[in-house]
């Protein structure tokens, strides 16, 4: 299972890099979304996927039967943060499109006075 997850994570990172290298701003934003998905899945996988029992003390359940609760808590935090940042990024991108009249990163190269 960990192997499959690693492949998925690798694919997500690859797709994210591909999208972020494109010129269109909206593709770049989707790329950042994929990148954070990849990072979150990595966090989950690295915590170990084993453990069927919920992390509650009960009779006949040993520590090795628990699912590790910490990565889940971490992911929740990371997801909320990346959600907020992505929505902010979308708003800034829209405002920039209104103001600058383009979403082509090729045209946004360098600074204004060095064109």
């Amino acid at each position: 299972m960990e192997i499959i997850m690693s492949v998925v994570i690798g694919f997500l990172f690859m797709a994210a890099v591909y999208l972020m290298l494109s010129k269109s701003l909206i593709r770049i934003i989707i790329g950042t979304g994929l990148l954070s998905h990849g990072a979150h899945l990595l966090l989950l996988t690295m915590g170990g996927l084993g453990g069927e029992a919920p992390p509650v003390v009960a009779d006949g359940v040993s520590v090795s039967d628990y699912a590790d609760p910490l990565p889940q808590a971490l992911i929740l935090t990371a997801i909320v943060i990346s959600f907020a940042v992505t929505s902010f990024f979308l708003v800034v991108a829209y405002r920039a499109y209104q103001e600058l009249g383009t979403d082509n990163m090729e045209l946004l190269k360098g600074t204004e006075d060095h064109e």
Binding site: S36, A39, M46, F89, V92, E99, T111
Partner: protein
Amino acid sequence: MSNLLLFPIIIPLIMATILMLFPNKIKMQRLVALISALVTLIASLFLLFKVYIDGIQVVTLGSWPAPFGISMVSDLFSALLVVTTSLIVLFVVLYSFPTIGIKREQSFYYPAVLFLLTGVNGAFTTGDIFNLFVFVEVLLMASYTLIVHGGERQQLRESIKYLLVNIISSALFVAAVALLYSVTGTLNMADLAVKIPQIENTGILTVIAVLFLVVFGFKAAIFPLYFWLPASYHAPPMPILALFGALLTKVGVYAIMRTYTLFFTMNVGFTHELLAIIAILTILAGCVGALAYFDVKKIIIYNIIIAVGVILFGVSQLNEAGVQGSILYLIHDMMIKAALFFLVGIVAVIFGTSNLRKMGGLMKTYPVLGWTYLVAAFGLAGIPPLSGFPGKLLIIQGGFEGPQFWGSIVILATSLIVLLSAVRIFIYAFWGEPVETEPLKKSAYHAMLIPSMLLVAVTVFFGVGAELFMPFVSGAAEVLLNPSLYIEAVFKE
């Protein structure tokens, strides 16, 4: 257990939330922002003396025992930085009154500054690496707001790039935390410091250490990851630039200093030599930029990069002189950068441009500004007895005692370039034929000049009275060099 160390984080957080309720009442906004910055400074000073007298302060949230709950740890190093941060934010708020403009003040400028203060103080205080990520995101979110605040063309253009770079580095941060967790099974810094030496396979840990260097390097603007900084920092107005230049990169520097002294010490021969080489390259890259531009903002911005290199070189030597020097220089640099941006901001306002070629002859009309700038510039370059000198002296001494003596030679040589780049502004803007200047009201000029002069006075005091601060600095360095002190304090709770 004392909750005192949480006050510098919570006070600005609560005050910023309150400030968001009445955005249009500017007088109230100013007053509340000033008071909250002042109260935060007082709380952090109390904290500093508490730590100095009673030793490291630890709070583990929710009263869980140490590795399970999130620890907040305040040793002398983090307390010193929290004091410096609060002090700088106080001055930035004062400097913002005449410079930032009513439009910006009405749209949540002060709340964003206070949220930034929350994030920076939190990042300096936390004792948990994932919590560090969270606080870094808090301060980044505030910085996103500030960099795009006002929505000018230039700002929108640069903030897209700034956002993208930081989102990528945040994703890498999560990935690095995941890898570290899979190897060690803990994220508490003190617990990491216990567990990492027990792991025999140091290869994977070295990779993780370098990955963390990349993550923090994006924030600290080390070579070759500084590429985003000059253009992004050039866009926002001066008080925001001063805030960024003084605080944001320093969080990255702090994170590198903390992780590379506390637990990533399993393969010092590789990681710390890499850090030293990168630090020197950072200095050289910064010097090229500082000499190449004729824009006052750009010159000081590249000086930020140089200072990052100098500080990290001191840490990479891992000896007493080097680490003490780094701490002194870090505090000095936070204050002097804010002061220089303030002064350069006044110059830019007077001429209506930040282009050096269009300036000249300010010494006749604004002599006080000129002399204040000269003192700050000499402080930046480290001319004794000003504030850059003791830190740099110790870093260079640490370099000669350590393995990378050539680094000290580079730092000595580049000090001259730093002096040249700062004095060049003085020569072009203050000497020469007077150029026509924008009309500036006396009261506005004084409102800008007084906070700048006060901050320069503080840096001068910090330099001349370095002997006074040495007990604090050597105490801070002691904890950095003996991780066992840190570990004991955390697990004692």
